[in-house]
């Protein structure tokens, strides 16, 4: 681990008391800083909480939020909630896979895009929707997807997601 990263991690940990029940909040915060849970970080957290690394992997793999691989610069999360599903989120996902050239769950080799799905973002009234980093884009159509991912071919699409 880089020195700076270790410093950041130690700073994060300094706000905790080292109790076992702090594991999930710590993992969320570490991931918030690093975009994923680096192996070295897991080692350090294990010794901080005095638990086995395996226990951390067991928890981290149980919850959908946690990632063991770094994220691309743009994390595209397609909602597959019920309202999105019946309004065609599947086709939206396929179109994005085509546009960015990676499949669900993958990151592009240039680290530009990570493509994920999520059970529900909770913006069901704007279905189908997706999120790019922290911004929600609602009422998606295939045209809007093309506009978002190939700005040159965009036909007057505004990036605020309303088109």
């Amino acid at each position: 681990m880089e020195e700076l990263e270790e410093q950041l991690l130690r700073e994060v940990l300094s706000f905790y008391r080292g109790k076992k029940n702090e594991l999930i909040p710590i993992l969320l915060e570490v991931q918030g800083n690093f975009s994923y849970l680096p192996e070295d970080a897991i080692q350090l957290i294990a010794s901080f909480l005095n638990i086995a690394e395996g226990e951390i992997y067991s928890v981290a793999s149980f919850y959908a939020q946690f990632r063991l691989l770094p994220l691309g610069r743009q994390c595209v999360t397609v909602c597959r909630g019920t309202a999105c599903h019946i309004r065609g989120s599947h086709q939206i996902l396929q179109e994005i896979e085509k546009a960015v050239g990676v499949k669900e769950g993958e990151t592009s080799s240039d680290m530009e895009y990570t493509l994920e799905t999520v059970a529900c973002i909770g913006c069901c009234a704007l279905a189908p929707c997706l999120r790019i980093n922290n911004n929600v884009h609602g009422e998606m159509t295939l045209e809007k997807v093309r506009g978002l991912f190939n700005p040159e071919s965009s036909s007057g699409l505004s990036l605020d997601g309303r088109g």
Binding site: I24, F66, I86, Q91, A119, L126
Partner: protein, 559 residues
């Protein structure tokens, strides 16, 4: 100069923000400053109004001024909105909501059918107060219930009031809230906890998010009252990972409540101490289940405890008695305390009192968050409030209860909606998702969709759920890809019965519902897929040469 005092609210819910509402707020602010109109126009941020589909929303406060309702506002509209307040200014007609059927403009908030037929109790403050300003909550009578509870009532009296109100838990199962409070109160020991379940794991539901984003103090107030009633000193809010804005607003609300003495060691000088922490979930549907949720807070994998499962009210967090209620259950409490159980129980049906909140979405003209008295008919919800199915399509079904619920057909549209009628129809209240489906929705695909969800989310601990949901999914997958066999329907029914009957927790016990209800009400669609290799709705890609194009939605007239 403007003579009248106008109050302008700008919705800052997740939906409106996605449409650019933050920019609209700051442009309105700039424009007011630029024209030096700060004296005449007050502008404030609110949480969700419920009508997310029409966002970004700017509403001239209906309580204090005209009630003009501007929808789909863009930054370019800001100057016209402000000009309209100047002498001789006219309302900005192009931003009026238009009736989807007649295209008639409806300028006023209260006249819009989406709002007119609702009765907003839990959502009373949503869209009206600034969720980041405790003074706004106080101005609506906030924290008066807490004062009353602490200084005029004993814990026993509070529990009796909640019991008499008939309030049932709004997290899905509808367990009587008062009985749970009483059980936690009676449980021994002096260390107890109160937990608010804000995991909202059902896909297709967003009411808990909206309440937390728009009116966090009503939930905090309900929790403190609960803590006082059951004898707890610590509370937790378990918030779904996908809800960063809700977490942010809760943090602000907790800090402000501490500053004003509504949380802390000695609340309002009563000698009673209670404080609340936020616990962010990490994305596991099963963690909505009470014993799994508790394990998750303890830092473990959230897997429901094996049977015989202790009652959380007796053996909960760290083995101590724990009261677990849903966000909306807590949000009802302040009103029950201030206005009384009789007032509360005057709404609703014999067995379900008060109101129900639904996230009305899918193939319906007006999508959004709605609140109606328990017992309101499905038809009124979908057609009067929701404006029916857009684009002249035929209504097919409405899905309630998320992955634990089922699909209700048109023949049951006149059913009054409450906990028990939904269960009788094979569905569930669940978290209150209500997804409308039209002739273009394939019911086998919907069943497949839900089983795909449950088989992923199964914690894997018990075999009926882990293997059973997976098997049901693969049978459904076969049917939707043209490989269905004649015996598959019976196989699904048999599998469904055993998964429901033998799973360890309600996740597995209710997982077959989407399949069982679609077979019960839409068997012909299964048969068409299996026998004719045909998808009547034209959804299943393997069975149709041409898939309906998404881009067509633009022209459907639902905008």
């Amino acid at each position: 100069m403007i003579k009248k005092q106008y109050s302008l609210t700008v919705c800052q819910g997740t939906g409106c923000i996605s449409g650019g509402a933050e920019d609209i707020f700051s442009s309105l602010e700039d424009e007011i400053d630029r024209l030096n109109l700060g004296e005449g126009i007050r502008i404030k941020r609110t949480g969700c109004h419920g009508f997310c589909q029409r966002g970004p929303l700017v509403v001239v406060d209906p309580e204090t001024s005209s009630g003009l309702f501007y929808s789909k506002v863009a930054p370019g509209d800001v100057s016209d909105i402000i000009q309209s307040f100047l002498p001789g200014g006219k309302p900005v007609e192009r931003l009026f909501y238009r009736d989807p059927a007649s295209s008639k403009p409806i300028p006023n908030y209260h006249d819009i059918p989406f709002y007119r037929k609702q009765e907003r109790i839990v959502l009373r403050n949503c869209g009206h107060i600034d969720p980041e300003d405790i003074d706004d909550y106080l101005a609506t009578g906030g924290y008066q219930a807490l004062r009353k509870a602490l200084f005029e009532m004993t814990p026993e009296q509070i529990i009796a009031e909640v019991k008499q109100s008939g309030l049932r838990g709004l997290g899905g199962a509808g367990f009587p809230a008062g009985r749970k409070w009483e059980a936690t109160f009676r449980a021994g020991g002096n260390e107890k906890y109160v937990i608010c379940n804000a995991d909202e794991g059902d896909p297709g539901a967003f009411q808990d998010r909206s309440v937390l984003e728009a009116d966090p103090h009503s939930v905090l107030e309900g929790m403190v009252i609960a803590g006082y009633a059951v004898g707890a000193r610590r509370g937790f809010i378990y918030v779904r990972a996908e809800y960063p804005l809700a977490v942010k607003r809760l943090r602000i609300a907790i800090t402000q409540a501490r500053d004003k003495g509504f949380l802390g060691r000695d609340i309002l000088g009563s000698g009673f101490g209670f404080d609340i922490e936020i616990f962010r979930g990490a994305g596991a549907f099963v963690c909505g289940e009470s014993t799994a949720l508790v394990l998750s807070i303890e830092g473990k994998r959230g897997m429901p405890k094996p049977l015989p499962r202790p009652r959380t009210a007796e053996v909960g967090l760290w083995g101590k008695p724990t009261l677990l209620n849903n966000v909306k259950t807590f949000a009802n409490i302040p009103l029950i305390i201030v206005r009384g159980s009789e007032w509360f129980a005057s709404r609703g049906t014999e067995t379900s009192k008060g109101t129900a909140i639904f996230s009305l979405t899918g193939k319906v003209a007006n999508c959004g968050l709605i609140e109606v008295p328990m017992g309101t008919r499905l038809r009124e919800i979908i057609f009067d409030i929701g404006g029916g199915v857009p684009g002249g399509k035929a209504f097919k079904a409405v899905q309630t209860g998320g992955p634990s619920g089922g699909c209700i057909p048109a023949s049951l549209l006149d059913m009054p909606v409450d906990f028990d009628s939904l269960t009788a129809a094979g569905s569930m209240m669940g978290s209150g998702g209500m997804v409308v489906m039209d002739e273009d929705t394939c019911m086998v695909d919907v069943a497949r969709y839900f089983l795909d969800f449950t088989q992923r989310e199964s914690c894997g601990q018990c075999i009926p759920c882990r293997v059973g949901t997976k098997q049901m999914f693969s049978v459904l997958d076969d049917i939707t890809t043209g490989q269905g066999r004649p015996e598959d329907i019976d196989l699904l029914l048999e599998l469904g019965e055993s998964v429901a009957g033998t799973s360890l927790c309600a996740l597995g016990q209710t997982a077959p519902n989407p399949v069982l209800t679609t077979i019960r009400y839409f068997r012909d669609e299964y048969e068409a897929h299996i026998h004719e290799k045909r998808c009547p709705a034209g959804v299943c890609q393997a069975l149709v040469s041409k898939t309906p194009s998404l881009s067509k939605r633009e022209g459907e007239g639902d905008k």
